[in-house]
Symmetry: C2
Subunit: 205 residues, 2 copies
Amino acid sequence: MKLYQSDRAPNPRRVRIFMAEKGLDLGNMEIINLDLVAGENLSADYRRKDPMCGVPTLELDDGTCISESVAISRYFEEIQPEPALMGRDAKSKAAIEMWNRRMELKLLLPVALAFRNISRAFADREKCSKEFGEISLERATKMFTFLDQHLANNDYIAGDDFSIADITALCAVDFARVVKLRIGEDQPHLKRWHDAVSARDSAKA
Amino acid sequence: MKLYQSDRAPNPRRVRIFMAEKGLDLGNMEIINLDLVAGENLSADYRRKDPMCGVPTLELDDGTCISESVAISRYFEEIQPEPALMGRDAKSKAAIEMWNRRMELKLLLPVALAFRNISRAFADREKCSKEFGEISLERATKMFTFLDQHLANNDYIAGDDFSIADITALCAVDFARVVKLRIGEDQPHLKRWHDAVSARDSAKA
């Protein structure tokens, strides 16, 4: 298997942490690092692997290419079910998927939109709107507040157990530093959770 | 079970079509229609069911609330596996998840962002950026072009079989009419696919 990825982007980190939690060794894969700022993900060769030009992409030995962090995570969950990170029965699978999506759509996405539209890091290949970047930053900031309240009553994002939703949230919260958004002194529950998930071996992946 | 939904919004339609494909009868559920323009989804009562105030939400008989269309679909896929709409093995599950996410993040999301930011339909509760609405509309338009090429070589969005990715794409393409984006005369493959999926009984759900 090959993994096309970037060390600095949040989405490849989600997959690296997911694999580490599964005990899957990155050392057993061929890792191909793409320089996103230089546009290595826009080459004709990579476009054949992922026409959306995102990272990461997992290339299986038969040449099948799987893009999208959660789709790659799903593949690993299927081939290595333990420890379960996406639920064990209909209700827990649905609840974890719900929370993971909230972390993606209401936290990681606004952080990414704030970064891309304010920093204009990819303005050579996409139109930017500083106005919408600022709106997105406000939304991400409000989500920190929501999460602090949510984590007052929950050990982890989706409830009692560590799951893929914590991985997405951790990567989003850490990546938010690029738009100067950090956990506030008045957010002790978010801080307690962040300290706990950051202390896991997988967080270094 | 109860389903909180809206007839006009694209996300509840995704769940209604998914259920119809599974042969699950909406008539066996209590349907609660929420008027989104009037803000019925913002009430304190509904906020306890879905703190993100989205639709649809599925409420199970034990009171558990599942929001997010794909999480609700996952629940139905688990309790009623046939016909499979989210894959049968690791590779097909991952491929369908990848394609469903592309349809969400690169098609339905830009269409929704174009609609919300250009029409200002929810300006009473969210900040809008016409500039980003126009950028989003351009992105959705490009995705129609991409899909036409993709469907020249694929019967369905994720390949040979109808899946949840087709449901998401159908709801996105149909909803795009709100921003005056329609399948072009020069997009025969997208039209062939759209005619085929629209002709299924489930499309009326």
